[in-house]
């Protein structure tokens, strides 16, 4: 059974601008899915509808067989604790240390009092240290987040998501602000999370070559509609043209080369 099912999802901003129309797809447990499409196609909106950071206008989203769109506040929070989220601009609290930022991932499971006072158990702290070690941030644990490089900040973002013990990660343009080296490190970590921990990963990307290299499946979106949904290796130049429009011919990447590599 699918972990996530999206049926006929629509999202309208204001009266006339439709961000998403009739989006259907499902994601299996442990799958690595990439959503690609031109800027403004609705990728971020789609991702944020899944954990209801944005409320969809119509349709249905089922996560672990629960209908997300009808959840009450408390149940929604519970569902959100099972979905980690990673952002383009990392969204850390810059003045706090790496470990404090990591432990923020645990706030969803805490009582109001413990959350306000920032009370974390010894095990939670140890788990945070373990995760940070795996992500190669051992030396940075007590550094302030604003002293880190972009790639390191994004790894803290991943740590904050992983400490939630999530079933699924939503990654909104995780490498859009990073240099190629850091981008590769981040993508490798995400891939490893999906293959070794069995966590489902959904990533929004701009880079088609990266998407083809890392994903099990690619979903192509153009003007709020799904125009491609299939395995990465089956994608043809025509598909890319359908996703990115007619200018795709002039795009610099060489799809043949990527497949060969």
């Amino acid at each position: 059974m699918a972990l996530l099912e999206v049926n006929q999802l629509t999202k309208q901003f204001g009266k006339h601008s439709k961000a998403l129309s009739d989006v259907n797809f499902s994601v299996q447990e442990g799958e690595f899915v990439t959503i690609i499409g031109p800027s403004g196609a609705g990728k971020s909106t789609l991702l944020r509808c899944i954990n209801r950071m944005i409320d969809a206008t119509g349709g249905e989203i089922r996560f672990q067989d629960k209908s997300v769109l009808n959840l009450k506040k408390k149940e929604l929070k519970q569902v959100r604790t099972k979905i980690g989220m990673i952002f383009q601009h990392y969204n850390l609290v810059n003045r706090l240390s790496v470990i404090e930022n990591t432990l923020h991932g645990k706030l969803g499971t805490k009582s109001t009092m413990a959350g306000v006072l920032g009370l974390y158990s010894q095990e939670e702290k140890q788990q945070a240290v373990r995760i940070l070690n795996v992500l190669g941030l051992k030396e940075m644990i007590y550094k302030r987040a604003d002293q880190l490089s972009g790639g390191q900040k994004q790894r803290v973002g991943i740590a904050r998501a992983l400490i939630q013990n999530p079933r699924m990660l939503l990654c909104d343009e995780p490498i859009a602000s990073l240099d190629p080296n850091s981008a590769k490190v981040i993508m490798d970590h995400l891939k490893k999370i999906s293959t070794t921990m069995g966590i489902t990963v959904i990533v929004n990307l701009h880079q088609v070559d990266v998407a083809i290299k890392y994903s099990d499946r690619i979903i192509g979106i153009n003007s709020g509609q799904v125009v491609y949904n299939g395995p990465a290796e089956n994608m043809t130049p025509e598909d890319i043209q359908r996703i990115y429009g007619s200018e795709a011919d002039e795009l610099i990447f060489d799809i043949g080369g990527i497949h060969a590599g």
Partner: protein
């Protein structure tokens, strides 16, 4: 066509200048203002100031009394600012777009703050004179209301600017409202907030002198008293003491800012 635009602009400028000139001239006639006499009296004023307006040895006897009044003014300013800051923080959290509970409450709190901000401290002092008479309490409340309005505005903007990203991230982990406020909003805003409070204390010490003239309390009243009784030497000593105090406060707050940022 283009020449027309330039000609029109020149004509507008000319009309504006003529209008401004005639209003000024009219005002001069109505108030019997003699421009030549006005300008030539500036050197005389300076001369008089140098001849009379300086502290003498015997005026130093009054120094302890003056310092006591100065202390009162300083404490009233600091107390008004800090108490106002507590209320302002509460209103800013409720009124900011990132952290408001809902749009309705947000608009109400912003409206209240706008009313307090747009009434000047001096106007507050006049209004409050009716209720509290000539006492330091009037000055305290005038400064409190003025600071409250201004700080609410400043805090609201700080919160929106600094903590938007991390608030979104914590919401996505399923964290509750109060956890988000105490773990994300306050840690990320605390140093700009302190900076604003220091700025407000400085401003209030300056306003407090003027408010003192109106409310008959503090250092402003002391100045007024000696000035009106023609004790220019003591009045000038008051001015020197005020300037010294302001410079001291400025130095201290700059030091604190350097340390916390």
């Amino acid at each position: 066509m283009q020449a027309d635009i330039f000609a029109k602009k020149q004509r507008n400028t000319l009309v504006f200048l003529v209008l401004l000139g005639s209003v000024t001239f009219l005002a001069m006639i109505m108030t019997d203002y003699n421009a030549v006499k006005g300008i030539t009296s500036v050197p005389k004023a300076v001369q008089w100031g140098l001849a009379n307006f300086y502290p003498t040895a015997e005026s130093l006897e009054k120094l302890p009394a003056i310092l006591e009044k100065l202390q009162e003014t300083l404490l009233v300013s600091i107390a008004a600012t800090t108490v106002a800051a507590v209320f302002a923080l509460l209103f800013a959290i409720l009124g900011s777009n990132t952290t408001r509970v809902n749009a309705f409450f947000g608009a109400i709190t912003r409206g209240i703050a706008a009313v307090f901000r747009n009434i000047d401290v001096a106007a507050w002092a006049l209004i409050l004179l009716f209720s509290f008479g000539q006492s330091s309490l009037t000055g305290y409340f005038a400064l409190f209301f003025g600071s409250f309005g201004f700080l609410t505005r400043a805090f609201t903007e700080t919160i929106d600017e600094v903590s938007g990203g991390s608030v979104e991230a914590l919401k996505a982990t399923g964290a509750g409202y109060f956890s988000i406020i105490f773990q994300s909003v306050i840690p990320s805003c605390i140093s700009p907030l302190i900076s604003w409070i220091l700025f407000m204390i400085e401003t209030n010490i300056r306003s407090a002198t003027l408010i003192g003239l109106l409310t008959g309390s503090g250092i402003g009243f002391t100045f007024n008293l000696y000035y009106k009784s023609l004790n220019y030497d003591i009045a000038s000593l008051v001015v020197v003491v005020i300037i010294a105090a302001i410079l001291c406060i400025e130095y201290v707050s700059n030091y604190v800012r350097r340390v916390i940022l």
